[in-house]
Amino acid sequence: MKFGLAAFDASWDRHYQDLSTNVLGRQTREFKEQLTIFQERLVEFAKDHNKELKENPEFRAKFIRMCASIGIDPISLFDRQRHLFDVNDFYYEICVKVIEICRKTKDLNGGVISFDELHKGYFIMLKVQIEDLEKSIEMLQSLDGGFEVFFIKGKKFLRSVPNELTDDQTKILEICSVLGYASISLLRVNLNWKPFRSDAILKEMVANGLLWTDNQAQGEVLYWDPAWIIRSSSLM
């Protein structure tokens, strides 16, 4: 299961790997550079010949399949001005990717992922703006798929699991949005919760896969929000 290592989807990635083994053979460094240049040329070709490709579905189908098989994410074929097909295809591709990402990361984040994390972790490298992501997720609502959007302190989140966050859980995620984690002493300082209450809710969130535990900090166990995985990288 790929997580954050490559924005490419697992099946395309497998195509890419098989291809690079038998067809491309020698995967030396300069060969990899040639491959990336080839990819960029292909993307340019798609944008330049947008009209012909649009008119001829058979040729377009083959062209896109080939791009997909050597690891070009279809989203990167889209360009705001000279869009390749129906302008909305760009958004439908994002919809498909959002569904896959939510299903794939469910065990890492308990089925709760922020728009910011989705954008930074999976879309920003495909030159997708946050507004495009929001528009696609808006479109997804018509599928009534249990993908519910909600807010924590003005920040947009997407939940793809049935049970809603309780108020206490939401408050803890608010605290986590500052440093990435919550702890019994932090909750006493910020919410003046008694230790036994914080302990019970923090453990409940771990049980539901919403927080990871970290027992190597001095003093007390820290409970980290997995949304911090992506955010912390942008700070470095």
Partner: protein
Amino acid sequence: EDKNKTPLLIIDREKFLNKSQFIDEIAREIYGFIMSEFKEQKEKDGVILITLVDIYALYNKSMRIGTGLISPQELREACEKFEKLGLNELRLIRINGRVLCISSGNSFEFVKTKIIEIVSFSPGADLLRLTQSLNENNSNSWTMGIIMEVLQNCVNEGDLLIDEQISGIHYYMNSDWKI
């Protein structure tokens, strides 16, 4: 697993005079796709149940690459056309009053009974264990989306009790606190 399912006939939005003709064609393609994709499950269990969201991703990725993906709204409209088009093995249902799914046969009850059965044989089973047992011969036709919703229903209706540990949620039969 990557059966080469390139569509025989390219159903391309531009080729259709009006939208509803396009939707009808798409409905037939989706119907055929689901019936073949879940053929094993239909034969083995006699039922199919999958969320519209999962169908959207699966169908677009398998059948629509290169020919232009369909929108969520188009998928929904196409599925709503099944009955009118005589495609009556599959129909649109809503589970837990929330989630739209494509279903064949008495699918929800089937999965619910199976989950309760698994828990009765292995008390304390968690989601991982349930998913493995449900998809025994790695047919993985019971997607995570469905299993979680049905499990939620079992807890809400009082069929199953939860044992919440830091290791995760474990499920037990409810034999003492009937409602």
